[in-house]
């Protein structure tokens, strides 16, 4: 039994697991900043998209079109390599953020998730029945109160499953930031692979951690769905 345990401890996959684990905090840090920021901005963009101001709506529509039509990798490279090559950006205050791969990753991930999130929230806002808005108006709600008490709660509740999908896609998208030399889990797995020439062990260790992270995300979304849909609970 003890021999078996020591053989596990000496196996490459066990050692790699803890090495890759040390990159988990960097992955989570990326998510902790870009997800809440992306959520708030996506809501604002969705409201702008459904607003009656044609200019605002059209600008946001074209922003969403461009971001959803190009791969995330292009966006990350554009921000990390592309913007860094422009002289006046290097001389401006923006350079303090753009010279760090971490902030480039955060900016790219936020820009990306805002576009997808805004489209999801737009669907939610547009699916609200007119009668609910009208009953709010008849109660004398102002625009802001209507938004806060009726439109947003119902819209967010409706789109929780699809926004949950987007959150999982974001967890997976953080791996692309490793291509800008930022050392999160995929970056460390790659480094291990280059050192030990054992690709399968390194990437399986990282894969298990990503699966775990996504599992937690799914549970979190399920909890939110349970919390904000009290009328759908079987027994309360």
């Amino acid at each position: 039994m003890i021999e078996f345990l020591t053989s596990i401890q000496n196996s490459l996959i066990y050692k790699n697991f803890f090495l890759v684990l040390s990159g988990l905090d960097n992955t989570i840090l990326l998510l902790l900043i870009s997800l809440p920021l992306g959520f708030v901005l996506a809501l604002l963009f969705a409201l702008g998209r459904v607003s009656k101001i044609a200019f605002l709506s059209r600008t946001i529509a074209s922003y969403i079109f461009v971001i959803r039509g190009t791969p995330l990798l292009v966006q990350i490279y554009l921000i990390y390599f592309g913007l860094g090559s422009v002289k006046f950006i290097r001389e401006s205050f923006l350079w303090y953020a753009l010279k760090e791969p971490f902030w480039c990753g955060v900016i790219a991930l936020t820009i990306n998730t805002v576009a997808y999130g805004a489209e999801i929230f737009r669907g939610g806002i547009q699916s609200i029945e007119k009668s609910q808005v009208e009953s709010g108006l008849s109660l004398g709600f102002g625009k802001f109160l209507l938004l806060r008490k009726i439109i947003l709660p119902i819209a967010i509740r409706k789109v929780l499953p699809s926004y949950g999908n987007e959150l999982i896609l974001m967890v997976k998208a953080t791996s692309l930031v490793s291509l800008t030399t930022y050392m999160e889990m995929t970056g460390i797995a790659r480094k291990i692979m280059a050192k030990t020439f054992a690709p399968v062990e390194a990437f399986i260790a990282a894969g298990i951690l990503y699966l775990f992270l996504n599992f937690l995300m799914v549970q979190f979304v399920k909890y939110l769905e349970w919390k904000y849909n009290p009328h759908l609970r079987l027994n309360n």
Binding site: G69, T70, V74, G82, S85, R190
Partner: protein, 235 residues
């Protein structure tokens, strides 16, 4: 900043290289979408026949691949694929070194990812066919083969087309990750060009525009197909 003169065709610019790279992206997307659909059909079949083992394997495959970043799957297949192929070849008594070329690895890697998404789309549209139709076909004496081709597939295609269109867009964008394996498609070409010309902005924006064109045009194509396949049905 943006150097238009570097994008002309011929030796002075990178226009023709980008054209070839775009065709390569399209080739990889089409091949892996096709292989992915084939894998997806097998996965769906494994899920809908009443067999616990095949269903477990299929569920495991789709859950794991969809829960792991695409980049990791590509790395795993790119760095680990050769070893797997060689060990399979060893079983059949072939001991020489085998190296898969970049296009094959790229196609397989993207297909493995795209198949998981396609299988969900196909499964949902298969389940939307009412059982009565299959029973009616059986009552008419049709065999399994013609039930599949004459009753099930036309309806599955019609129901699945919008979803397959989405999967196509995802697949097209995922091919950009293949650049890490060294296959010269749009993304790789833009990195090569920007390293030579020291102008990343120009070539990355070019890449973005090319991807945008590809996704927009293929989106239009799928819209037309949808209209074509839903003739006689109110949409």
């Amino acid at each position: 900043m943006f150097k238009f003169d570097k994008l002309v065709f011929g030796d002075a610019g990178w226009g023709d290289e980008f054209l070839i790279a775009t065709l390569m992206t399209l080739l990889v997307s089409i091949l892996s979408m096709g292989l992915g659909l084939f894998l997806a059909i097998i996965t769906v079949w494994a899920k809908i026949i009443q067999n616990r083992i095949t269903r477990f394997i299929a569920n495991f495959y789709t859950t794991v691949i969809r829960g792991v970043p695409e980049l990791l799957v590509i790395y795993l297949i790119f760095f680990g694929g050769n070893a797997v192929v060689m060990s399979i070849a060893k079983v059949f008594g072939y001991n020489k070194y085998i190296e898969l070329n970049a296009l094959t690895i790229a196609t397989i890697a993207i297909a493995v990812i795209s198949a998981t998404y396609s299988s969900e789309v196909l499964r949902a549209s298969y389940l939307s066919i009412s059982k009565g139709q299959i029973e009616a076909a059986k009552a008419l004496g049709m065999n399994k083969f013609s039930i599949f081709f004459k009753v099930i597939s036309p309806q599955v295609i019609r129901h699945a087309l919008p979803g397959i269109g989405n999967v196509w867009q995802i697949t097209l964008k995922d091919t950009s990750l293949i650049s890490v394996t060294g296959l010269v498609e749009i993304m790789r070409q833009s990195r090569i060009s920007s390293n030579v010309e020291h102008s990343p902005l120009t070539f990355l924006i070019t890449a973005a525009i090319l991807y945008l064109c590809l996704t927009t045009i293929s989106g239009r194509v799928f819209k037309t197909l949808e209209v074509n396949y839903s003739k006689g049905f109110s949409t």
